[in-house]
C-alpha cells in the first residue's frame, strides 16, 4: 500500500477513486459477519415486497467501503480520525459503486476530505466527510498509533 505524506497534499487534490461491486454471495457473507438477519439483504422476494427491485447492499457495508477508501488515502502510517456520511440512496448488488473524494483543507497534520459514493448512473448515494492524520515525509519509520 502506498503512503501519502502531509507535504504532498493540498486543498482541491482529488483522491484516487475506489470501485466496489458486491456479488450476492458477498452480501450474504457480510450479513453473516455482522450477525444481521435482515431479509432485505438476501431474500429477493421479500425485498420486492418492501418495494425494492432487488436485494439491497447494506448501509454498513457501504460505510466499511468508505472507511477503506479513506484509509487507503491515509496509508499504513496515516490514521483515520473521523468519518461522517448520510444514506441518501439505495445500492444494489452486481453494479459498480464508485468512491470519490477531494481534499478540502490541511490544518497542522490533519487533512479534511469531502468524500462520496456514486452509483453507475453517477447519482450520489452517500455524501460524507472525513479527517485523516498524515505523517510528515521527514519522520522515521514506525509512526505513532
Amino acid at each position: 500500500m502506498t503512503q501519502s505524506f502531509l507535504e504532498d497534499v493540498k486543498p482541491g487534490d482529488p483522491v484516487p477513486p475506489l470501485v466496489k461491486n458486491a456479488s450476492r454471495a458477498q452480501l450474504f457473507l457480510f450479513s453473516a459477519a455482522t450477525n444481521n438477519p435482515h431479509r432485505i439483504h438476501y431474500d429477493r422476494d421479500y425485498a420486492r415486497r418492501e418495494g425494492h427491485e432487488d436485494i439491497l447492499v447494506h448501509g454498513p457495508l457501504q460505510g466499511a467501503w468508505l472507511h477503506q477508501f479513506v484509509q487507503g488515502f491515509a496509508g499504513p502510517r496515516g490514521r483515520v480520525l473521523a468519518l461522517a456520511f448520510r444514506n441518501r440512496g439505495r445500492a444494489f448488488p452486481e453494479r459498480d459503486l464508485v468512491f470519490r473524494g477531494r481534499v478540502s483543507s490541511v490544518e497542522g497534520d490533519v487533512v479534511a476530505l469531502e468524500v462520496w459514493e456514486e452509483d453507475d448512473t453517477g447519482a450520489v448515494l452517500m455524501p460524507g466527510t472525513a479527517r485523516v492524520r498524515l505523517p510528515r515525509r521527514d519522520t522515521r519509520e514506525g509512526g505513532r498509533p
Binding site: 500500500m1 466496489k20 458486491a22 458477498q26 457473507l29 457480510f30 453473516a32 459477519a33 455482522t34 450477525n35 444481521n36 438477519p37 435482515h38 431479509r39 432485505i40 431474500d43 421479500y46 418492501e50 448501509g59 454498513p60 457495508l61 460505510g63 466499511a64 467501503w65 472507511h67 477503506q68 484509509q71 499504513p76 502510517r77 490514521r79 483515520v80 480520525l81 473521523a82 468519518l83 461522517a84 456520511f85 448520510r86 444514506n87 514506525g142 509512526g143 505513532r144 498509533p145
Partner: protein, 162 residues
C-alpha cells in the same frame, strides 16, 4: 401538537439501556474484513500491523456496532428479519424509523482481543417539518471504551422518525 411525549423529551441527555460489552476476536475481525473485501494487512497479519505502528492486529471499525449486539433467540425475530425491541427504548407516536446517517470519531484503534464496552445516550430530539409532514430527528451517541478505560470511538447516529 408535538410529536414528542414529555416522558420521551425527558430522556434527552440520559443513557439509553444498559452498557454492553464484548471481546472482539481476531477471527471475527478477519471474517468482517474479507466479507467487506477490505484486505488491508493490518486486519489480517500481526507483522503488518506492527509495521504500521500498531501493537497487534487491528479490528475494522465497521465491525464495532455489530460485535456489541448480543445474540438473540429465534422468538425475537420479526417477519422482516430484524429483531423485536432492537431500537432505542423510546416512545414516539410514529409508524417508522429511518436510518439517517452516522458520524464517527476514532480516538484509538480497536485491537483483536480487546474487550469493548458500548454506552449509548440520547443526544438530541428535534421536531421538524418537511415536505411529507412532521418528523422527529433523533441523535444517539454511543461511546466505545476498551478494557483500559480508553475511549476508542464515539458514534453519533441519526434516525428519522415519522
Amino acid at each position: 401538537m408535538s410529536l414528542i411525549p414529555p416522558e420521551t423529551r425527558a430522556l434527552v441527555g440520559k443513557r439509553l439501556g444498559e452498557p454492553v460489552s464484548a471481546t472482539l476476536s481476531a477471527r471475527e475481525a478477519e471474517r468482517f474484513a474479507f466479507a467487506a473485501g477490505d484486505t488491508n494487512p493490518i486486519y489480517l497479519d500481526e507483522a503488518a500491523a506492527r509495521a504500521a505502528g500498531h501493537r497487534t492486529r487491528v479490528v475494522p471499525p465497521g465491525l464495532l456496532v455489530w460485535a456489541l449486539e448480543p445474540p438473540r433467540p429465534l422468538e425475537a425475530l420479526r417477519e422482516d428479519g430484524l429483531w423485536r425491541d432492537a431500537g432505542p427504548p423510546l416512545r414516539l407516536p410514529v409508524s417508522r424509523v429511518l436510518y439517517g446517517g452516522e458520524e464517527w470519531e476514532y480516538r484509538g484503534a480497536v485491537y483483536a482481543g480487546d474487550t469493548i464496552t458500548a454506552e449509548t445516550r440520547l443526544a438530541s430530539l428535534e421536531e421538524k417539518s418537511g415536505g411529507s409532514g412532521a418528523f422527529v430527528l433523533l441523535t444517539m451517541e454511543t461511546t466505545y471504551t476498551n478494557q483500559a478505560g480508553e475511549v476508542v470511538a464515539i458514534l453519533r447516529g441519526q434516525r428519522i422518525a415519522r
